[in-house]
Amino acid sequence: MRSREKTVPLSRINPDDNTFHITTKTCINSLVNSIQNVGLITPPILLEKSSKFIIVSGFRRIAACKQLGWQNILSRVIDSGIKRLECIKLAIADNSFQRQLNLIEQSRSLYMLSPFYKDDIALGKETSSLGLPENPSFIIKIKKIYHLPQTIQNSLLSNNVSLDMALELGRLEEDVGVKFADLFSKLKLSLNKQMEILTMFKEIAFREDISIFELLKESCFQGIVNNDDLDRNQKTQKIRSYLKQRRYPALTKAEKEFKKHVSNLKLGAGAKLIPPNNFESTVYTLCLQFKNLIELKERKAELDKIIKNPSMKKILR
């Protein structure tokens, strides 16, 4: 690739042209310190375009030098006849050979490259030499990140949502996806719990012919989310039981009734009555704990009382 070193006035570099912008990093403090101490080791790469320069690589270096009050910067200026694809590759390689690109950066890179390739298989053949994923199905997934709203991208970057969850949220209406990303980031939920909550929301909304957005706005739900007296775990627990009760009203009611009857049985600490799973079978399990014959006799007496208790009859009705 033809290029030459040239000292370029910073005023002639357009910092807002993001054509070749890959990095998601915005903080330049450490870079400012480093340049101040040891100078600019690697010159940025620029492309001359109608008397201005656009940045191919080195957005943060240029911002750091500006902050240091430099007027000019030694740059590598590539020939304006160079094809756009070559510039994109250069921008990607300059980033990916210094460090592992995060998913958003990979997505930006793939998004820039893809118009130049017939399909994702052809694209995959090129990407490994640029330090990008080469599996076409993974490429398809990663490319989608580019279109996700910023909040979802941020949640992904900070590992508050997984790639699959981010894409799932991206399939929702934008404001809904963003609200979930926000919620999951605040509650720091495992993927399983995120999936459970999202599925519940979708299914309740569909069952009740309302939008997910309306459901999210409802006061019962907002009351839990905005309750400052609850910590993260308490909120999560309350949200899950609220959703379960709304999604499975008959089952939840039966569980509550069972609990009420069990409490009427006044089982001691050494006894536990377990209902059949989802009340589908008719087999109940009674666990009795005892350490010696005396305790066993006590349990027997308790058992006799339980059998006579009307609540037991109601449970087994």
């Binding site: 089952l251 039966a254 079978s281």
Partner: protein, 369 residues
């Protein structure tokens, strides 16, 4: 929502290409055909389609049944099975019900018809020679009557059953393709049966099936030709207002046919293997049927929460009994608790479900014991 399906291509296994059955189907179907060396090419073309289930309804594969034609219905230990036998004439269906279990049962799902009918009839001869009371049906892996347009199967099976006195054939359908039954000698050894549902379920979930009133008119015609009848409320779907709708279906049945001529009525609420859920979500995104209050049953299938099933069963049993206290009502794959709470007894008190059904078949179909 998927549009109308139609057979567009006929694949013929080269092993059966010259059989009279294959030649006859080919000429009646009148679509492009291709002779293939085996199922591989057919399965590949179906599997690689965007919607393999739809594609499986658009090709018909004529081949041999290399396994048994007569199979035992796969019941489970946890729920009461009816001891039915399956006559395996082919697989899959041209209609397209959102809840159809066949969508997740075959991998890939392909419309297949078995042309080695000599083997089928040999197996039937062995079955008949055993002289055991048998209930057997063709409507488990396919709809019994979709084949009427292209094959003479009913024209062969119905007379075959009429010539013996221990087995009954149940032809179960959601179509009205019954004209071919009219002039057949059946000797009441064939039961014409319909799966029924509410108008709402038929309209929303059962693509390309006949309407409720058309099914019941067809049932009335079969009755007028002397056929015994059966009805299957399966799958019953629970939704707001479903009770009134199912009541209407019951009323409609008995305004079309005589209760004395009904061999049995089965009831079964919607249940499905978990694999079906993503298929319905993808193929029928507007369908709400999978979002009921389902729990995981003892056999791993998703079922409505039990008290909800009992509630609906009790009501429908009551409505049926308003018309007839004699008609045999049974549950498909339910446990003793459901029987007791909905019908007031459990099958073992009456000798077991298979025996109850056998007795009704003996009575209505004039079987020898």
């Amino acid at each position: 929502m998927p549009g109308k399906t139609k057979i567009e291509l006929l694949y013929i296994d080269q092993q059966v290409a010259n059989t009279p059955v294959a030649i006859s189907i080919k000429s009646r179907l009148n679509v492009p055909s291709e002779i293939v060396e085996g199922p591989h090419k057919v399965f590949k073309s179906v599997s690689s389609a965007n919607d393999p289930i739809r594609k499986g309804k658009e090709v018909l594969f004529l081949t041999r049944n290399k396994g048994a034609f007569i199979k035992t219905c796969p019941g489970t230990r946890s729920y009461t099975c009816c001891g039915y036998k399956i006559l395996h004439i082919g697989t899959f269906c041209v209609m397209d019900c959102a809840y159809c279990i066949l969508q997740s049962y075959f991998h890939p799902p392909v419309l297949q018809y078995f042309v080695n009918q000599d083997d089928l009839f040999s197996e039937l001869d062995i079955l008949f020679s055993g002289k055991a009371v048998t209930r057997i049906g063709t409507g488990e892996f396919t709809d019994s009557m979709i084949w009427e347009k292209w094959t003479d199967l009913s024209g062969l099976l119905v007379p075959k059953f009429s010539s013996q006195a221990h087995a009954v054939l149940e032809l179960k359908t959601k179509t009205t393709a019954i004209d071919g039954l009219k002039s057949l000698s059946h000797n009441r050894k064939t039961i014409a049966a319909w799966s029924l549902n509410t108008n709402k379920v038929i309209h929303n979930e059962e693509r390309q099936t006949a309407s409720l009133s058309a099914r019941l008119k067809a049932a009335a015609r079969c009755e007028s030709w002397g056929y015994p009848l059966a009805f299957h409320f399966d799958p019953m779907i629970i939704y707001d207002g479903c009770e009134e709708d199912y009541k209407h279906v019951v009323e409609q049945i008995f305004s079309h046919v005589s209760s004395d001529n009904v061999v049995w009525i089965s009831l079964g609420t919607f249940r499905f293997i978990p694999n079906l859920k993503p298929i319905v979500q993808k193929r029928f995104p507007g369908s709400k049927i999978i979002y009921g209050e389902f729990i995981s049953g003892l056999d791993g299938k998703m079922r409505y929460f039990k008290p909800m099933r009992i509630n609906l069963y009790r009501k429908i049993v009551g409505w049926i009994k308003e018309f007839s206290t004699d008609v045999l009502i049974y549950f498909c794959m339910e446990d003793d608790e459901i029987w007791k709470k909905s019908l007031g007894f459990i099958p073992s008190e009456c000798g077991g479900l298979p025996r109850m059904l056998d007795e009704s078949a003996i009575h209505h179909c004039e079987l020898d014991v």
